[in-house]
C-alpha cells in the first residue's frame, strides 16, 4: 500500500484513552483540534498546574507513580527529584529517538498529537524549573518533525510557550532538535552528547548521571515522549483516576506496538499490569489471533533488546516486575510475535546484526564481541558453521555479559528462569542486549543451530578426518 496507514486504536471497556484519544482525529495535531477533541481539553491541565507550586506538581507525578516508557520503567517523579538542590540551570531533554526494533509509538504520538507532548513538556518544565526543553526527534522522522514544528509555532504564537506563558512568570523555550540516524543516541547520555554536537557515544555512569551532570554538565532530566504525553491527562484528571487503571505497581496505560505474525498488527493502548500477552494476541480488540493456520513459536515482549518468551509465558501480565522475574523486560512496549514458520537462527542473526551495526565502538567487548557474534551466526546460517561455534558464540557473549544471562524458564526441560537485568562489562546496555536473542534462541532451539552445523558434516570428505 502506498501512503501511510492509520493505526487502529480501540481501548478495552473501562480503560481510558490517556495518550491515544486523538490518534483517529483528523485535525488532532492542530491547536484547535487539541483543544476541542480527545479525552481532556488541551492546555487546561497547564492552567491548573500554573496555579500550583512546582513542588506540588512534582508530588502529583510521584503519587501517580508514572513509570518511564522509554525502556527502563523508572518512576518519573522520583527521577525529577534527583536534580541536586539549588543547582541551576536545569534542562529537559525529550527522548524522541525511537529506534528499538519493534517499537512504534513515540512516532505516532509526535505525528498525531504533538500538542499533548508540548503540554507535557511545559508541565515538566514548570515542576522542575527548567531553563529550556530540547525535543530530540529521530532524524529519519521527517513528518514528526514537521508536525512538532508546526505545533510549536502555533503554541508560541498563542503565548503557550516562550516568555511569560499565559501571562504568568513561567517562561520556557522548547526547541525542536533532530538527530541524524544512530540507534545508540536513544541512550540518554549518548543523546546528551549528540545534543552537544558530538558523536553519540554514551558517557560513564557514574559520574555522568544526567540528573546530576547532563547537557553542558548541568542537571538534566531525560524523559521519553510517551512518559511526558501522560501528563496532560493526569493533570486534568486526578491521581486516583490515574491509579484506578492498571495495578498498584504499574498504574495507567501503555502503548504497545504489536507486530509480526498476528492477524491484526497495530498500536494499542492497554492497561498496564493487568492485560496479559494472551489477551494482546487473541482479543479481537488487539491482535485477533496468531495468523490463521499457524501457531505461536516465540515472542519478544519488549523490543529487540528483550530476551524471548515462548508459549509458556503467554499468560503473564504486562507488568514490569513480573516480566523481569520471568527473565525478560517490557522495555519499550514492542511485542513481536513469531509463528512456527520462523527460523530461529535467521531471526537471531537479524537481531544480532542490528546490535553489531549500531554499536558505537566505545568499548571493546561490545565493538568486537557484537561483530564476532554476527560473523559466527552468519556462517552457521550459511552452512559453514563449525561444531565448536555454539560454545564460541556463548563464550563471546559471556565476555560482554558475564554469568547466567536472563532467560525464560523452560518447564519441559526443567530449566528455571534467570531474572532480568543482565550484567555488563560495557559502558551501556547495548552490548549486553545483543546477547538476548542468542541465549534465548540457543536455550530453546539448540537443535536448529546444530542441524545447520551438522549439514556440512554430511558431505563426505575422503581421507580427511573431521575435527569435532
Amino acid at each position: 500500500m502506498i501512503g501511510t496507514t492509520t493505526p487502529a486504536m480501540p481501548t478495552a471497556p473501562g480503560v481510558p484513552a490517556i495518550v491515544s484519544s486523538r490518534f483517529g482525529v483528523a485535525d488532532g495535531h492542530t491547536l484547535e483540534g487539541y483543544r476541542s477533541s480527545g479525552s481532556y481539553e488541551g492546555y487546561s491541565a497547564l492552567r491548573a498546574v500554573l496555579e500550583m507550586s512546582p513542588s506540588a506538581a512534582s508530588e502529583i507525578v510521584k503519587d501517580a507513580s508514572l513509570l518511564g516508557r522509554g525502556g527502563a520503567g523508572f518512576p518519573a517523579g522520583i527521577k525529577w527529584g534527583f536534580c541536586p538542590a539549588d543547582v541551576w540551570p536545569r534542562y529537559i531533554v525529550v527522548n524522541g529517538d525511537e529506534s528499538e526494533p519493534g517499537t512504534y509509538k513515540d512516532r505516532v504520538l509526535m505525528e498525531r498529537d504533538p500538542h499533548q507532548l508540548i503540554e507535557g513538556c511545559l508541565i515538566a518544565a514548570y515542576a522542575i524549573g527548567a531553563a529550556q526543553v530540547f525535543l530530540y526527534v529521530r532524524g529519519e522522522m521527517a513528518h514528526a518533525q514537521e508536525r512538532i514544528a508546526a505545533a510549536l509555532n502555533e503554541a508560541y504564537a498563542a503565548g503557550l510557550v516562550g516568555r511569560n506563558i499565559l501571562g504568568t512568570d513561567f517562561s520556557v523555550d522548547i526547541v525542536l532538535h533532530w538527530g541524524a540516524g544512530a540507534y545508540i543516541v536513544g541512550e540518554e547520555t549518548a543523546l546528551i552528547e549528540s545534543l552537544e554536537g558530538n558523536r553519540g557515544m554514551p558517557r560513564l555512569k557514574p559520574p555522568f548521571f544526567p540528573a546530576a551532570k547532563g547537557v553542558y554538565l548541568a542537571p538534566t532530566i531525560v524523559n521519553n515522549v510517551e512518559t511526558l504525553s501522560n501528563l496532560p491527562w493526569l493533570f486534568s484528571h486526578s491521581v486516583e483516576e490515574y491509579r484506578s487503571v492498571g495495578t498498584d505497581s504499574s498504574p495507567g496505560t501503555r502503548l504497545i506496538a504489536l507486530s509480526g505474525h498476528v492477524e491484526n498488527p497495530g498500536i494499542f493502548e492497554v492497561a498496564q499490569g493487568t492485560t496479559t500477552f494472551r489477551e494482546l494476541f487473541e482479543s479481537e480488540l488487539y491482535g485477533n489471533g496468531i495468523r490463521a493456520g499457524h501457531e505461536l513459536k516465540m515472542f519478544i515482549p519488549g523490543g529487540a533488546s528483550a530476551p524471548w518468551f515462548f508459549p509458556e509465558q503467554v499468560d503473564l501480565p504486562l507488568e514490569g516486575r513480573v516480566v523481569g522475574g520471568a527473565g525478560s523486560m517490557l522495555g519499550s512496549g514492542a511485542v513481536v510475535v513469531m509463528d512456527e514458520t520462523t527460523d530461529a537462527v535467521r531471526a537471531c542473526l537479524r537481531l544480532v546484526r542490528f546490535f553489531a551495526r549500531e554499536s558505537c565502538g566505545k568499548c571493546t567487548p561490545c565493538r568486537e564481541g557484537t561483530t564476532w557474534e554476527e560473523k559466527i551466526l552468519q556462517r552457521i546460517l550459511d552452512g559453514h558453521g563449525r561444531p565448536s561455534d555454539l560454545e564460541l558464540l556463548l563464550d563471546v557473549a559471556d565476555n560482554i555479559s558475564p554469568g547466567p544471562y536472563p532467560v525464560a524458564s523452560d518447564p519441559a526441560n526443567d530449566l528455571d528462569a534467570v531474572p532480568y537485568p543482565p550484567r555488563q562489562t560495557t559502558i551501556c546496555p547495548l552490548g549486553p542486549s545483543s546477547v538476548a536473542p542468542i541465549t534465548s534462541a540457543i536455550r530453546r532451539f539448540r537443535h536448529e543451530f546444530e542441524d545447520k552445523i551438522v549439514q556440512r558434516d554430511l558431505i563426505p570428505v575422503e581421507g580427511v578426518s573431521v575435527d569435532v
Binding site: 502506498i2 501512503g3 501511510t4 496507514t5 507550586s53 512546582p54 513542588s55 539549588d86 541551576w88 529506534s99 526494533p101 519493534g102 517499537t103 512504534y104 513515540d106 512516532r107 514548570y126 524549573g129 531553563a131 529550556q132 532524524g139 529519519e140 522522522m141 521527517a142 513528518h143 518533525q145 514537521e146 514544528a149 509555532n153 508560541y156 516562550g162 516568555r163 512568570d169 517562561s171 520556557v172 523555550d173 526547541v175 532538535h177 533532530w178 541524524a180 540516524g181 544512530a182 540507534y183 549528540s194 552537544e196 554536537g197 558523536r199 553519540g200 553542558y216 506496538a257 504489536l258 509480526g260 505474525h261 498488527p265 529487540a304 513481536v336 513469531m338 531471526a347 537479524r350 549500531e358
Partner: protein, 212 residues
C-alpha cells in the same frame, strides 16, 4: 556545491541562536548543508565549523558517526528498505532482494541514472505496518513487490514529487523562533534560579517563618 548560501547562513544563525552553546547546532547545520547540496560536502563542513566555532575535523568527526549524512553524492531518492525483525517476518528481506533486482544495485549502490540509492536499513518505527520502506525519509507502509514496482515507477515519473522532496530535505515546516518570543536562551553560566521557582520558594519560606 559547497559553502552555505547567504540565505542559508542567515538561517544557520537563527538555528544557532536556539542553543545555549553554538556547537549544539552542528547536526542541524549539517542537515541544512545536506538539504542545500543533496549530500554533505567537505566545503560545507568547513563552513559549519566556522559557524559553530569548532574545527572542521570536529564536524567531520560528528557527521561521520551518523547514518543520514552522506559524504558522497547519492541518488535523487534514497530508497530505504527495512529488514529488521518485524519486517523480516513479513518479507522485508525478500522485498530488498526484489529492489536489488529491479534497480540493478546492491544496498549502498546508486543507479547509473542517478535516480536511486538503495539501502538496507534498521527499524524505522513502522513495525506494525511491515514491510516498511522510506523514500527520502517519507514512509510507505505494507509494501509487496508489486507495490514497490509501482512506487519506483511513480517516483521516476514525478507523480510523487509533492510527497517526496529531493534527498536531504528534512521537515518542510521549520520551527520559527525569533528574538521576540525567545524566553531565555543564554549560556548555562548566565542562568540563575528561575523566577517562578524563586517566588514559590520565598513564599514557602515566609509561610514557614510565619508559622514558627
Amino acid at each position: 556545491m559547497a559553502r552555505l548560501t547567504p540565505e542559508n547562513v542567515e538561517l544557520a544563525h537563527r538555528i544557532i541562536a536556539r542553543y545555549p552553546r553554538p556547537k549544539s547546532a552542528t547536526i542541524p547545520l549539517c542537515h541544512l548543508a545536506q538539504e542545500q547540496d543533496g549530500w554533505l560536502t567537505d566545503e560545507a563542513m568547513v563552513h559549519v565549523a566556522e559557524l559553530v566555532g569548532c574545527t572542521p575535523a570536529e564536524v567531520l568527526g560528528t557527521a561521520s558517526f551518523y547514518e543520514m549524512f552522506k559524504r558522497h553524492e547519492t541518488g535523487r531518492y534514497c530508497l530505504n528498505v527495512c529488514t529488521n525483525i518485524s519486517c523480516q517476518l513479513l518479507g522485508g528481506e525478500e522485498l530488498l532482494e526484489h529492489a536489488e533486482q529491479v534497480l540493478g544495485v546492491r544496498p549502498g549502490g546508486t543507479t547509473s541514472d542517478g535516480m536511486f540509492t538503495l539501502e538496507d536499513v534498521e527499524c524505522i518505527a513502522a513495525c506494525t505496518e511491515a514491510p516498511a520502506v522510506q523514500v527520502n525519509y517519507r514512509y510507505f507502509h505494507r509494501l509487496g513487490p508489486d507495490d514497490l514496482d509501482q512506487l519506483i515507477t511513480d517516483l521516476r515519473s514525478g507523480a510523487l514529487d509533492d510527497v517526496v522532496p529531493h534527498h536531504g530535505t528534512l521537515g518542510r515546516v521549520h520551527q520559527d523562533l525569533d528574538g521576540d518570543r525567545i524566553a531565555n536562551i543564554t549560556p548555562p553560566e548566565a542562568q540563575t534560579e528561575p523566577v517562578w521557582i524563586r517566588r514559590h520558594r520565598e513564599l514557602a519560606e515566609s509561610n514557614d517563618g510565619g508559622a514558627s
